[in-house]
């Protein structure tokens, strides 16, 4: 492929799934109208399986999912050794994602709830960056294919790519959404990094923060404004811990005990 007579790179990409729903990898096959063009810009050499084959040839490793078992640590380290660039792909890989909800629960109780009499080995959920060095993060639950395409076009042309530093509110306002706070609801938009085009507030849910924190978020004021609208710290903590990435805000929201805690 050539762009203005400059030969473009065609990076080899390996895709690996850890603890997750594999929804982010599925996004790679999404957006059919540009799928052929996408697949001719990147060379997807490994998909879905964690390969132990050391001859696997890829420059970029996309890691989806979080780490919730010790055997995943070894696989991840092996991939890190082989890849030039390691990308944490999706909210689970970047922040732990929904899986990390289990971190606040009693592990034995949880194991019994899920696996009954055949418990499985399990460890606290961690994002990729807590296990191996990460070169690039693509947040989103699931990641947005349009954003992945933007990243790939930048990469192929050798241009720098940057995420918006501002919060979701900018994009939310830019689509004329009625603010969820005006309706008396909670929304993490003011502290969450934009780039998703704010689908959740528009869809009536409020933002749950799947893209992680915006640059220099003002957690103190955010908690203050939520509390002043009658939203309690228990609800705030539930929201802040849902996808991960907001641990320091979570620590600040301790005025109320957690509403439901399973009996250990």
């Amino acid at each position: 492929m050539k762009y203005l007579n400059i030969a473009a790179a065609k990076p080899k990409v390996g895709v690996f799934s850890l603890t997750c729903c594999e929804g982010c990898a599925l996004q790679l096959a999404n957006k059919e109208e540009t799928l052929a063009a996408f697949l001719s810009a990147v060379d997807v050499v490994n998909f879905r399986e964690i390969s132990s084959d050391k001859s696997d040839d890829y420059a970029i490793a996309l890691i989806e999912g979080s780490i919730s078992r010790e055997d995943e640590v070894a696989s991840l380290k092996a991939i890190r050794d082989r890849a030039k660039v390691l990308v944490a792909y999706g909210t689970c890989a970047c922040f732990g994602g929904v899986n990390r909800l289990k971190n606040v629960l009693d592990f034995d109780w949880m194991n019994r709830e899920v696996y009954g009499e055949t418990p499985k080995a399990t460890s606290p959920v961690r994002p990729v960056r807590e296990v191996v060095p990460v070169d690039f993060e693509i947040p989103g639950c699931p990641v947005s294919k349009a954003e992945v395409e933007r990243i790939v076009t930048h990469l192929v042309l050798g241009l720098p790519f940057a995420y918006p530093v501002y919060p979701v509110c900018v994009e939310c306002k830019q689509r004329f959404t009625v603010c969820r706070f005006d309706l008396g609801e909670l929304c993490l938009g003011p502290i969450t990094r934009a780039g998703c085009n704010a689908p959740c507030p528009a869809g009536g849910l409020g933002c749950w923060g799947c893209r992680g924190p915006a640059e220099a978020p003002n957690y103190e004021e955010f908690l203050e404004l939520a509390r002043s609208r009658g939203i309690g710290d228990a609800e705030l903590r539930e929201r802040l811990s849902f996808f991960g990435g907001f641990d320091s805000a979570y620590e600040l929201a301790q005025d109320e005990p957690l509403a439901v805690r399973p009996v250990a």
Partner: protein
């Protein structure tokens, strides 16, 4: 300026006739907030009944019909090692019905920057020229301080401007287009009674303002209070969310980015409105950020609205609609911030 009178029934028919011909944007109720207040947006309407002409204020200004939040400035296609550029301007006529005086004054201010400034925007000019405006008088909205800024009345920048006299409208005509439009509908000469009633309504409106912002010597006070703790106080609250600039009828800042299609055969140059409150507004090459502090960014928004614009155009940029104050989740509003500065000055 010419003045005529039109009955409300004739006006309703007039709007319905126009609706069959052009797109009409008007205030519409979109929700009720948790305190029971109606929320209005300027949106396309299909029927006269959708139009909420008695609205108090809208959450968003109408600026996006002139300088949209997102706009394609140019498209490019690449072929055989060469490229072509295509630029399209919006040339379709539409009408904005129900703008208040402050919002028409805001457009006059935007004109100074975007149509008559050193770098006129052909995209803006095309939209402005192809938009008809019918404004309307109204009793002051809660929190609005347009009267303090002299933007509560308007004498040009519209085609027609209505004042509600109960069963009829007193109509100011400010353009040939407005004059021609009125030819299509039954209307009458202004009588002595109409004039008396009109003056009474204007006096009632003028007396109805409850929010006042002291603008006397404000540009100088802003300079003197450059290091004031007022900025740290409000800056600590600011979320750097840009909402204030998004809803503001006069904020026009934008960023431009280029985007390639996935097959690399075409590209687009996109414009997106921005805000000086956002973290990287003054970030430059080498990752230097001239306004890394939230308080500094907040301060400069007030500086542009109430000082910088005055230096260039002899008038503030802010029209006192208080949309920024209404929408700010942190409760930062110009009446409070400016009152604080005056307090600081007296102290």
């Amino acid at each position: 300026m010419l003045f005529r009178v039109i009955t409300k029934e004739a006006f309703r028919k007039f709007v319905n006739t126009l609706l069959s011909e052009i797109e009409i944007i008007a205030p519409r109720k979109v929700a009720t907030d948790y305190t029971g207040r109606s929320i209005y947006h300027y949106l396309p309407v299909d029927r006269f009944e959708d139009v909420a002409l008695d609205y108090d204020t809208t959450r968003f200004s109408a600026k996006t019909y002139f300088t949209p939040f997102k706009e394609n400035l140019a498209s490019y296609s690449f072929q055989n090692g060469d490229w072509t550029q295509s630029i399209r301007y919006r040339g379709v006529t539409r009408l904005i019905l129900g703008l208040h005086a402050c919002d028409i004054n805001a457009l006059l201010k935007l004109d100074k920057v975007m149509a008559r400034g050193p770098f006129p925007s052909p995209h803006y000019i095309a939209r402005r020229k192809n938009t008809l405006i019918i404004g309307i008088d109204h009793d002051p909205c809660a929190g609005g301080f347009c009267r303090s800024l002299g933007t509560d009345t308007v004498t040009h920048g519209f085609d027609l401007f209505l004042t509600d006299l109960g069963d009829r409208y007193f109509v100011a005509i400010d353009s040939d287009r407005g004059f021609s439009m009125l030819q299509e509908v039954e209307n009458t000469e202004v009588t002595e009674d109409d004039r008396v009633e009109y003056s009474a309504v204007r006096r009632r409106i003028a007396k109805g303002f409850t929010t006042h912002v002291e603008t006397h010597n404000l540009p100088n006070i802003l300079d003197i209070e450059f290091e004031s703790p007022v900025w740290a106080k409000w800056g600590a609250k600011c979320l750097s969310c840009g909402t204030c600039a998004m809803v503001c009828p006069t904020c026009y800042c934008y960023g431009v980015s280029q985007e390639f299609s996935m097959d690399f055969a075409s590209a687009r140059k996109n414009k997106q409105l921005y805000s000086c409150n956002l973290y990287d507004f003054a970030r430059v090459a080498g990752d230097h950020n001239f306004r890394a502090r939230t308080s500094t960014r907040l301060k400069y928004r007030y500086y542009h609205q109430h000082r910088g614009f005055v230096e260039t155009y002899n008038e503030p940029m802010c029209v006192g609609c208080n949309r920024c104050g209404n929408a700010c989740l942190a409760g930062i509003s110009p009446p409070e911030v400016i009152a604080d500065l005056h307090m600081e000055e007296k102290a």
